[in-house]
């Protein structure tokens, strides 16, 4: 055990965001280092690998101007997040430095930013309905407290408007509001400005961690961990219901790939590292509830699917970890449907527990199943329609085509309106009533 900082000027090489420092005594995995250049620039880093007296350091923050003559201080501590209820209402950058003009709060305690896994026996099953105000989610892909449900978007689709609608409108079953922890990763200015406006207009409280497009890539690996450490603190030490919104996970994964490549690791699919599943799980799995404790962490990550491809490693691995996904469709967006949610590939794995009498309504499952079945049939028939034309189809099939159109236009589409769960389900019943399918 070393009890003080050690300083070295023995950098042997710098490769992208990686530093190799030699002749280090007793380096520690994950230890935080501070790098100071003679010119006055400073940066922080973390030890990734140790081989004898050589330590490999990943630099967070700006590496421009860094030279082999820099001074590296080893702090003997792993990275911790400062925690306090005073984080609420504040805006920080990816290194947990306030950017809202106010001074840093006084931390009540510190906790490792990676957290510790929740013991599976200690988890409480997520089953409390969250009303997002969107029919496509509430009625058909119900979100529950403690769930992680990503939004799979594509370039040009209104994921941010949809996320904003959820952040603004989400209500707990008892009518309470969430504390929102908003984590922005590599956000361009117009999106940043949009979200900040949304957060400012919210009724409830929020904390934001903002890493903008021009800011250091490596901070994208830190910001979500800071955000989640704060969320866990608010949820499990203070009993709050926290909604964590992370956008955009695609930028996170690209940052992960950048480090991995710099470390000369074997690239996996599309160059992303083989451990990306475990790495993403270390973030997503922090959502949940704990038996016998108030508070919850619900997570809503946004993933932009490169090339609109749901089998791309980022949405693919995300989908394997999260409890479902909300998939946005370019086609629906072009039809002017908002939110453009394609309900067929969308899914909420925890829906079953969150609906029914006492949670939403007793007829919820039946309505959702019928809507799904008929819409899927209508969608199937569209392919047939393209071949034989509408005239060549049976009357009952034409009815299903009309149903699918009305389903998209009237039920999924809701513009800026907020619908409560009763309005969503009643809308579904009305629609089913207008297009009575043949008895199954």
């Amino acid at each position: 055990m070393r009890l003080s900082e050690h300083r070295y000027r023995t950098i042997s090489s710098i490769r992208g965001p990686l530093l190799f420092v030699e002749q280090v005594f007793a380096a520690r995995m994950g230890e935080v280092v501070r790098i100071a250049c003679p010119g006055g620039e400073t940066a922080e880093g973390e030890i990734l690998k140790i081989d004898g007296d050589t330590a490999l350091i990943q630099v967070f923050g700006e590496t421009r101007g860094l030279g082999l003559d820099a001074d590296v201080a080893f702090t003997d501590a792993i990275r911790q997040a400062p925690l306090s209820a005073d984080v609420i209402g504040r805006v920080f950058n990816g290194s947990f430095i306030p950017i809202d003009g106010a001074p840093m709060f006084v931390p009540e305690q510190w906790a490792p930013i990676t957290g510790a896994p929740i013991n599976p026996t200690a988890r409480a099953r997520p089953e409390e309905f969250i009303e997002t105000g969107l029919t496509a989610i509430d009625a058909l892909n119900t979100l529950v407290k403690g769930q992680k449900l990503p939004i799979f978007s594509s370039a040009g689709l209104p994921a941010k408007e949809m996320t904003a609608a959820i952040v603004r409108n989400a209500r707990l079953a008892g009518g309470g509001a969430f504390v929102v922890v908003f984590v922005a990763l590599g956000l361009p200015h117009h999106e940043y400005a949009f979200y900040m406006q949304v957060l400012a207009g919210m009724e409830g409280d929020f904390t934001a961690f903002i890493n903008r497009a021009g800011e250091p890539v490596m901070e994208r690996l830190l910001a979500p961990r800071f955000g989640l450490a704060v969320a866990e603190h608010l949820a499990f030490a203070r009993g709050m219901d926290v909604l964590v919104v992370i956008t955009d996970m695609t930028n996170y994964c690209d940052a992960l790939r950048e480090v991995s490549t710099a470390r000369e690791e074997l690239p996996g699919r599309r160059g992303y590292p083989g451990y990306m599943y475990s790495d993403l799980a270390s973030l997503y799995e922090r959502a949940g509830r704990i038996r016998g404790m108030p508070g919850s962490v619900t997570m809503l990550p946004v993933v932009t699917m490169p090339e609109d491809d749901i089998t791309h490693p980022i949405p693919d691995l995300t989908g394997y970890i999260t409890e479902g996904q909300i998939v946005l469709s370019r086609e629906l967006h072009q039809k002017g449907v908002f939110p453009p949610v394609d309900v067929l590939p969308s899914l909420s794995r925890l829906m079953q527990r969150g609906i029914g009498s006492g949670r939403t309504r007793q007829d919820h499952r039946r309505i959702a199943d019928l809507l799904y079945k008929q819409y899927a049939k209508g969608r199937d028939l569209r392919r047939l329609e393209a071949i034989v034309g509408r005239e060549g189809m049976m009357g009952s099939d034409r009815l299903m085509l009309d149903f699918a159109d009305a389903f998209e236009r009237e039920l999924i589409h809701q513009g800026a309106a907020r619908r409560d769960i009763n309005a969503s389900l009643d809308g579904g019943i009305a629609l089913l009533g207008r297009f009575p399918a043949e008895a199954p």
Binding site: D51, R286, E323
Partner: protein, 536 residues
């Protein structure tokens, strides 16, 4: 055998201890993290550490433990929930709170609990290893205790004991205990392997009727995300016609495990009526728990499964998902800087998998009884692409392949088992068994069912072009019947009473639909128009 840490890279730690053996356990760092030796060089060893290495520093102490990674096998495992290293998670929660802390060592079983031993043999008996010595009552389960080695029994103690107490003594002066450690990576011995001949009834119609699994057989179901792998695993865990279920949640979701635990405590085993948890052991390493322990978890699970097999039980091992195990293997391999094979997986992926599958089977135990260990494993191919290495390696050894189909899942057809691509190598023996034990009509109805589904597939292509109106009446009828088969027979709602279907009910349901087809076909021939046919 002590030394110091020389280097750390991800989950692997280099130590300067000599005299270690491969797969020996090593304790590293002041935190006392546990690991396993995976590589030896002169004067140094590489250790795969089962816990998060963050915070570990070079020069910290390390010590060899002179034993390989082992599980404790004894009464008290049933109903237990362990992590990949057999640490009892409930006890860990009591000790350390809701979050799993690294470096905690907790004995897997309750050493304070008293059990009652009822000897079956007498002092003076000559026994061979594996011979029955008596039973321990473990709830309703009569837990057999067998001779650890051959020899003459000097005495057996009837009555209460704790795990640390001997239950008897051999003539050679050594005590007999009801508890014994077993190194997880070594398959437990048996007299000989038998061919699987009995079906493992799962209560899933598509499986039992179309792609039956044998007791002692192996099955895999690969599927992209959202195809219902976990629900299917859990349904099988609930309803399978076996004595013991070992469920390994390998690198999957924590919330799902919470759901499973809650359900298993409340649900009853449809075969015995007892709470499901009484016949279940859960091994869980969620995706955010350490990767190296995930790699070890399936061996921990299979060793416990073999333990019950050796008592003459029918055991089912379920693992969700084997891909996460393979990824853990890849991660460890890559931190060892081994030469990668396909997609970065080590080249020994397929041989390790094959060796793991080999631990399934029907065996004549050392004691002369027959036990079976079946495996049903889910596979999570990236992008739902079945050409990837893990799926392909599994396909080479598994006896049953259930292909989970994303298109079916999108249509909310569950279980989303594709009935054209899936297959069962146990089909001939199993179908013959059902013919003999459920109804002689089994194989005939089954043939008809497959025929209708196949014909539908062909007709569907025609219908896409000419429209359903353009088909002949008999073909339109067949399309209707096939739709009924899909909706009323092949799909099964895991949340309703329908979640479990016994073989006789399975047969009755399909036979009814096939009979309807025959009746309606006759009516068509007699000139009844298709739209006028009765619906059911």
């Amino acid at each position: 055998m002590t030394g110091r840490i020389l280097g750390i890279a991800g989950p692997t730690v280099t130590v300067d201890i000599s005299g270690l053996r491969l797969y020996d356990m090593v304790r590293v760092g002041t935190a006392g993290l546990i690991g396993e030796v995976v590589r030896l060089e002169r004067g140094r060893a590489v250790v795969q550490v089962y816990e998060d290495t963050r915070g570990l520093a070079v020069n910290e102490p390390a010590a060899g433990m002179d034993a390989p990674l082992s599980v404790q096998l004894a009464p008290g495992l049933l109903g237990g929930m362990f992590d990949g290293l057999q640490r009892p998670l409930r006890r860990l929660e009591e000790l350390a709170g809701p979050f799993v802390a690294a470096g905690r060592e907790v004995f897997p079983l309750d050493r304070e609990r008293t059990w009652v031993f009822t000897p079956a043999g007498n002092a003076g008996d000559e026994v061979a290893a594996g011979d029955l010595l008596g039973h321990v009552a473990e709830g309703t389960f009569r837990h057999p205790v067998t001779a650890p080695r051959g020899g003459r029994i000097e005495r057996l103690h009837a009555g209460e004991f704790r795990l640390a107490d001997p239950i008897g003594r051999m003539a050679d002066g050594r005590d007999i205990f009801a508890i014994a450690p077993w190194p997880v990576r070594r398959p437990r011995p048996y007299r000989r392997k038998l061919s699987p001949s009995l079906p493992l009834v799962t209560g899933q119609r598509t499986i039992d009727f179309l792609f039956p699994v044998a007791r002692g057989g192996t099955a895999i179901f690969p599927g992209g995300f959202g195809t219902g792998k976990t629900i299917l695993e859990q349904s099988i865990a609930k309803f399978a016609d076996v004595d013991i279920v070992v469920y390994a949640g390998c690198g999957e979701r924590g919330n799902e495990m919470a759901e499973l635990l809650e359900e298993f405590v409340t649900l009853a085993d449809p075969w015995s009526g007892r709470p499901l948890m009484e016949r279940t052991i859960v091994v869980v390493n969620t995706s955010n728990m350490p990767v190296a322990a995930r790699e070890a978890s399936i061996y921990t699970a299979v060793s416990m499964a073999e333990y019950y097999r050796d008592m003459g039980c029918h055991v089912l091992l379920l693992a969700d998902s084997i891909s996460r195990w393979a990824e853990a293997l890849r991660e460890i391999s890559s931190s060892l800087e081994e030469m990668p094979g396909e997609e970065g997986y080590p080249t020994y992926l397929s041989s390790r998998l094959a060796a793991f599958f080999e631990r399934a089977g029907v065996v004549e135990t050392l004691g002369g009884t027959v036990g079976s260990l079946s495996m049903i494993l889910s596979v999570s191919p990236p992008g739902g692409d079945f050409t990837e290495p893990v799926t392909q390696a599994c396909l080479r050894t598994a006896g049953v392949f259930f292909m989970l189909d994303t298109a079916l899942a999108h249509r909310r057809h569950f279980p989303a088992i594709n009935w054209f691509q899936s297959y069962s190598l146990y089909e001939p023996e199993m179908v013959a068994h059902f013919d003999g034990h459920v109804s002689p009509r089994w194989s005939e109805v089954r043939r008809r069912c497959r025929e209708i589904l196949q014909r539908e597939e062909a007709l569907r292509e025609v219908a896409e072009i000419v429209g359903i109106e353009g088909l002949q009446d008999a073909d339109r009828l067949l399309m209707k019947v096939a739709e009924r088969i899909r909706h009323e027979f092949l799909s099964q709602n895991a949340y309703m009473d329908d979640a479990f279907s016994a073989p006789d009910r399975t047969l009755a349901r399909i036979a009814e639909i096939v009979a309807f087809h025959d009746r309606a076909g006759e009516q068509l021939k007699q000139g009844v128009l298709p739209d006028e046919l009765p619906r059911g």
